[in-house]
């Protein structure tokens, strides 16, 4: 029977890749992330600057936290976009009828959101370097943290995006459900960036560990629970 399981696992990843490439191709065509979400995220950075009185030292100290708040807000939009792709013309129903395992759809959509978050984080990193004068002390830690946090946000966001879909008040429900769950990610990623950007003396690698654990748990849990979310 081991053979059958191998086939199933291969099918899982083939289908996930199919869904991921489709979502990314749609993004490449429609440019919603690049034209709308990314400018929004940068705008948030600028607004923080206004609100904190343009004091470069303050901004540099708080850059990690402001960075991750901006990422979370932009991630909400990315997740909503990812969900609305399926609901715009009820492709959602087609997916359920396709016979693809819900786990594949989950992984595929999460990968697509992950890639978009990485792009977003790259732009925002440039943003805090230019606008807040942050300096990168530890590029390896920075990159790994950005990747681990993106996994955590993409998987949790994809699961909760499906959860809030098909309900009356889905747009307003998503933030209050998703953001508290992501509280550890915000804290962990901020602390890790504190280290990587030299904003505070903390051990960023320990925090990276926490982010990795969160990401793994969210991936496994999401893959298992996504079916329960999209079924009627």
């Amino acid at each position: 029977m081991g053979n059958r399981e191998v086939v199933q696992v291969r099918e899982l990843f083939t289908d996930a890749r199919l869904v991921a490439t489709r979502d990314l191709r749609i993004e490449a065509r429609s440019r919603v992330l690049l034209n709308q979400v990314a400018p929004f995220a940068l705008l948030v950075l600028v607004l923080f600057g206004f609100a904190l009185d343009a004091d470069q030292r303050t901004l540099r100290t708080f850059a990690p936290g402001l960075f991750w708040v901006a990422v979370l807000l932009a991630a909400l939009l990315a997740v909503q976009r990812s969900t609305s792709l399926e609901h715009a013309d009820d492709a959602h129903t087609g997916l359920r009828l396709s016979g693809m395992a819900p786990s594949s759809v989950f992984l595929g959509k999460a990968v697509a959101v992950f890639v978009q978050l990485i792009v977003l984080e790259t732009l925002l990193t440039m943003g805090i370097v230019v606008l807040y004068g942050s300096e990168v002390d530890d590029p390896v830690l920075l990159v790994l943290t950005a990747a681990a946090a993106a996994v955590a946000v993409a998987t949790t966001g994809t699961l909760y995006g499906a959860l809030a879909s098909g309900l009356g008040a889905r747009e307003t429900l998503l933030p209050i459900l998703l953001l508290p769950v992501l509280a550890p990610v915000l804290i962990g990623a901020t602390r890790s960036f504190d280290d990587a950007l030299g904003a505070a003396a903390v051990d960023g690698w320990a925090w990276l560990g926490l982010l990795v654990v969160f990401g793994l748990v969210a991936t496994v849990l999401g893959a298992l629970a996504y079916g329960a979310m999209i079924e009627d």
Partner: protein
Amino acid sequence: MAHRYRGGVSVVELRGAVALLGRFPALAGVNLSVDAGETVLIQGPNGAGKTTLLRLCAGLLRPAGGEVVVLGHDLTAERRAVRRRVALLGHSTGLYGDLTVAENISFWARAAGLSAPDAESRAAAAARLMGLDQRLLSRTVNALSAGQRRRTSIAALAVRRPELWLLDEPHAGLDQAGRDAVDSLISEAVAAGATVLVSSHELERVRSLSPRVVTVAAGMVVADSSRSGPATDGDGEPGGGPGA
């Protein structure tokens, strides 16, 4: 296991089936049995439950009462097993607006588990059947008219070669050529041994396929051309209740 019925193999077997939309019983106790290879026209006034009946058969809704067996699977217990073997054409097109027609069709073919080469060849055949020419194939769905979208949507379903077709007003929004294409699709499907349930207001057009006609009203089957007597099996009264 297949359910035997009147000598044929029963593809759809509903007994007292109840289905909810939210908390509203859109189907309030449907009795219906369809054999393999049959073409069934489902007619009825707006709000009778035609769409819900088709969605229930596709395994999209959990039966809230009664017994629902499709292609040998009891849908109360397992609905996913049925889905790959049926095709449901609903009111929405189920397409991605930013993808081209060709990309949409081949995505749904791949999603149905076909290998890439298979998907391409079947997609080409389905596009030909629905009259989608080369120029249209490379256009994004956003740039199509409603009728062209409908054709694309049907083509994306045809690639799956389902055993059971569930067509919800397939002629709506199509021009003459499109309607003819739908009719030939139905004939081909039946010739290939598939079963077709079609709801339509285009009664005369569907009649030319000489289907069995089932009339639905208020969430129940109230008349059935294949029965000489009362509409429902067993108790005979449409108000007989959801045998839950």
